[in-house]
Amino acid sequence: MAHDATSHEGSEKRIWHVFILLTILTTAEVILGIIKPSFLVEHKFLALKLLNWIFIILTIVKAYYITWAFMHMEGETKGLRRAVVWTAVFLISYLMFILLVEGDYIHEVYKAGYIKYNF
């Protein structure tokens, strides 16, 4: 029983730790979003601004903590974890890849002047 009580205390402590972490990450995102350091805005990696890479990576970190700590994914079996997480991660990456590349291509077509904006 004593062991049980300490593990509950431990889990509540972890909740608050994760909350503080999420708060710090969100604050960092908002501050970066307001300042928009010109170096990060003007340099790109794979057609995406460095600043946006930072936002997306921080978002995935937050998503990881919400799923693992708040939704107790860390306590589930490996099979359940993979059935849910891998399905989402692979399908979404695939969909994003196709659509974003295609969107960028259509933009290039517009920009190259085959279709005029100001008629």
Binding site: H8, S11, E12, I15, W16, F19, L22, T23, T26, T27, E29, V30, L32, G33, I34, V41, E42, K49, N52, F55, I56, T59, K62, A63, I66, T67, A69, F70, M71, H72, E76, T77, G79, L80, A83, V84, T87, A88, L91, I92, L95, M96, L99, L100, E102, G103, D104, I106, H107, Y110, K111, K116, Y117, N118, F119
Partner: protein
């Protein structure tokens, strides 16, 4: 007699597999996980479509901190994203109280579960109210803009690069009176009229030497191109056809019309999830008060709605990133 037997919800808790259940989770929890998975794919479908359109119209996509710059009681103060950051904290915090309720449920502490569930519901309601307020500001608009013949939005700046509102440009309004059913033809109503006509704006713009125009095209560094005075006058006089104030499904003053469509649809769909989440939380809250789960001997139901509630929070984290930050 069969129908009146009260099920406790604890029988058959593990799903198949006999003595060695493969996933070691109850049927309900598994199904909640797979519902969440399918819902996550729905949301990512919407966000992927958003990303597609955004890349397609990357030139005219609005900059979020110019769109969402309101804060309650701070009128006329430029507060980029402060409010949405606050909304995010509220939702994350309601997620924390939810997980505390789940943890209290594991310890079978009924009063603690009630308290934390109550806080979670309150957090959800505050978030919904905030979203309504956010929509109101978005629909109302701040500066106003002008639409060109090709349906693109051009915005006004002063020589220092600050945005200028239409009301500061136009000298007077010559807008006609809208005709209603009572004063006009009884079977037709008027469209919503803007405060100023396009002629008012053109006249006011020509009279004030300090005004410039920004077009939805990006320079090499990715900043919107600002025209000089001569080009500004020319663009406004030859291309501008309509004044745009605020946002609706057809046009908005911030940029490409799709931006508003996606904003309404995705935040609306998320808001609908929050709304149903609050409803389900309220039901569970009353069940806890009535002692349903105490009698059942397990608070797993709180855990299952908790999963849904965290999922809503998870989606918001992504919506927040892609609408407000990126």
């Amino acid at each position: 007699m069969e129908a009146t037997v009260v099920k406790t919800g604890t029988e058959g808790k593990t799903w198949g597999g006999g003595d060695h259940p493969p996933l070691k989770a109850s049927y309900g929890k598994l199904m909640m996980w797979f519902f969440i998975l399918s819902d996550a794919l729905t949301f990512s479908g919407f966000l992927a479509a958003y990303g597609f359109s955004r890349y397609k119209f990357i030139d005219s996509w609005p900059v979020a901190d110019e769109v969402f710059n309101h804060f309650p009681f701070l009128h006329g103060v430029d507060a980029p994203m402060y409010y949405v950051a606050l909304m995010t904290f509220i939702l994350i915090f309601s997620s924390v109280t939810m997980v505390l309720a789940v943890s209290a449920g594991h310890q079978m502490k009924k009063n603690k579960v009630i308290f934390y569930m109550f806080l979670t519901v309150i957090g959800g309601l505050i978030f919904l109210g905030s979203q309504a307020w956010e929509w109101k500001n978005f629909i109302q608009g701040t500066y106003g803009a002008v639409e060109t013949k090709s349906g693109r939005i051009i915005q006004f700046l002063d020589t220092e690069g600050n945005r200028v509102a239409l009301s500061d440009i136009a000298i007077e309004s010559t807008q006609r009176q809208a005709h209603g059913r009572s004063s006009g033809i009884w079977y037709s109503t008027d469209e919503t009229l803007t405060t100023f006509t396009i002629e008012d704006i053109k006249k006011g713009f020509a009279a004030n030497e300090n005004l410039l125009v920004r077009i939805p095209k990006l320079d090499e560094k990715g900043h919107p191109i600002q025209l000089n005075r001569q080009q500004s006058l020319e663009t406004l006089n030859t291309d501008a056809i309509r004044v745009v104030e605020g946002a609706n499904m057809y046009r908005n003053e911030y940029g490409t019309p799709l931006f508003a469509n996606f904003f309404f649809f995705i935040t609306g769909f998320h808001g609908f999830h929050v709304f149903t989440g609050v409803l389900i939380n309220i039901i569970i809250f009353f069940n806890v008060i009535l002692g349903t789960y105490e009698r059942r001997g397990s608070y797993e139901m709180v855990e299952k709605v908790g999963l849904y509630w965290h999922f809503v929070d998870l989606v918001w984290v992504f919506v927040f990133t892609f609408f407000y930050l990126v």
